[in-house]
Amino acid sequence: MAERGMGLEIPELESMAKRCRRNIVRMVYGIGAGHPGGSLSAIDMLTGLYGHRLRVDSDNPKWSDRDRFIMSKGHASPGVYSILHERGFLTEDDLSSFRKLGGSCQGHVDMKWCPGVDFSAGSLGMGLSFGIGCSLAAKLDGSDRTSWVMLGDGELQEGQVWEGVMSAVHHEIDNLTVIVDRNGIQNDDFCETQMRMFDVSEKFASFGWAVMEIDGHDMAQVVDAIDWADQVTGGPACIVMHTVKGKGVSYMENNPKFHGAAPNEEQFILAMEELS
């Protein structure tokens, strides 16, 4: 049986997240396409999950009693691939296959192509429902495995998300945690201009979820929130993490242009300097 996380302390997790940030930028620059902004906003939590909590086994990616991580905002695939690399699921060569014909690292995370990926995403709004299915199955099995679903904040505009939010409470699914990456930016522009969502935490709480808000770039808070979610009983937990889209690369930070665009050569060099 695999262990939870990798037994890493906060400074080690912070170093890991920085390595992931470099790989995210490398992947997107390498193919000239992809979504760096939402990968960089999510990566500290991804590092916290894989480095501190998830019980998965890179030698046996399909191990039936593994914890499930479901990246519902599947365009943040470079973030997932970079952390799967750190956890031993993917090689450097795999990372280089990002968005290339026949590569394990498809444009959007895909369970049929990539070891360690539990859900084929790419169309927003579906991951929570899938996670509910995984959690219901775990309960039927009498297993203590858990499901963790990451949603984008723009993704919350999809109606299916709220179908899932309602049903997770109805079925009292307490082996499920949703993480909302509240970076405030979606494809076209800031969320505030596209579709205002007001108080996301209040919305989840009003449906009956246990909610915790954190700074998604403070690793100590990330780890505390993960531990908190594990202790929630009787229903699902939601971590609303306030993040900065493009975090770590100055010109990408809080810049809607880098939701789905690659840096040019000059920008790439600058990013590598900033992330060194």
Partner: protein
């Protein structure tokens, strides 16, 4: 007047098959409020622990089923055929694309649904699900065959969509003959060499009646229940084209893209012969009794007879 829902409606066969799977703890049943209608309620009453109520929220149901499937369960999820379509993209991206084994049942398909009117009468479901790679698409004709085919899905290794009908029609199968049913193989109910009528769903009964009428005027018709729309039994269709030289399809579905479309695609690729398609002629239905609607839309046995004669005259 709609026919009463009695023992002969294919949805009843779906419910009966679920009951046969009660001992299998890997089978789970998912509902989106319409279990009393799709007949999954029978399973729920016996085994609530393995039944998941998801409310009036079909999109969520599709992906909950997918999640359970990847965790080792065999989900049977049902709602009305028309409401499965609300979750079409969920089926496309969340089930068919990753080839996750979920068995989706859409009941109350076709204009035969009757008085609920056009909003409830899915006439395009077979067409849209047929376009998805990995999907198996079924449409049994009565309760006995629906039960047999649902049971066959238990060990089917691909996702599926099965349309069932609300209303009772005369049975075309006995328990014995239904044992011969195989997914992907058309069932030949009657053999004749002058024309072949390939039907599905409630139109199998009309096709058999049409064959009786044709026989009275000296025309011998083969009648096939093509309960599997995808993968289509192309060997059988090609064989019938060669032997009979004229074909008719009959379906309670748009003539675009369903059984008629599938057979037409097969013929043009393998052995072109005249084909007439009986079905809904690119329009929506309306409220009315099942038979009244079949009559109004020229989908009765007599219309199949006319179509058979047209097909033969074109040879």
């Amino acid at each position: 007047m709609s026919a009463p829902s009695g023992g002969g409606a294919s949805r009843d066969g779906y419910g009966a098959a679920l009951l046969e799977m009660l001992d299998d703890d890997k089978v789970v049943v998912l509902e989106a409020d319409l279990g009393k209608s799709t007949k999954s309620c029978l399973f729920r009453a016996e085994k609530p622990s393995h039944t998941v109520s998801l409310g009036i929220a079909e999109q969520n149901m599709m992906l909950v089923a997918a999640g359970m499937s990847t965790s080792g369960y065999v989900p049977f999820a049902s709602t009305f055929a028309i409401f499965t379509e609300r979750g079409f993209e969920q089926v496309r991206n969340g089930i068919a694309r990753p080839n996750i084994v979920v068995h989706l049942c859409g009941s109350h398909g076709g204009i035969h649904t009757g008085t609920d009117g056009s909003s409830a009468q899915s006439i395009e479901d077979l067409a849209i699900y047929r376009t998805l790679p990995n999907m198996t698409v079924l449409h049994p004709c009565d309760d006995v065959s629906a039960k047999a085919l649902t049971l066959a899905l238990r060990n089917h290794d691909r996702p599926s969509y099965m349309r069932t009908a609300r209303n009772k029609v005369p049975r075309s199968y006995s328990d014995e003959s239904s044992n011969e049913l195989k997914i992907g193989k058309g069932y030949v109910h009657r053999t004749g060499d002058d024309v072949a009528i390939i039907a599905c769903g409630v139109m199998v009964n009309e096709a058999l009646e049409a064959a009786d009428l044709l026989a009275k005027s000296g025309i011998q018709a083969t009648v096939v229940d093509m309960h599997t729309i995808k993968p289509l039994d192309t060997n059988l269709v090609t064989e019938l084209a060669k032997r009979c030289g004229a074909l008719v399809t009959a379906e309670d579905h748009s003539i675009i893209g369903g059984l008629g479309g599938a057979v037409a695609e097969c013929l043009v690729s393998h052995y072109p012969v005249p084909l007439e398609r009986i079905g809904v002629q690119d329009r929506f239905g309306e409220s009315g009794g099942s038979d009244e609607l079949l009559e109004m839309l020229n989908m009765k046995a007599k219309n199949i007879v006319d179509a058979a004669q047209r097909a033969i005259s074109r040879t």
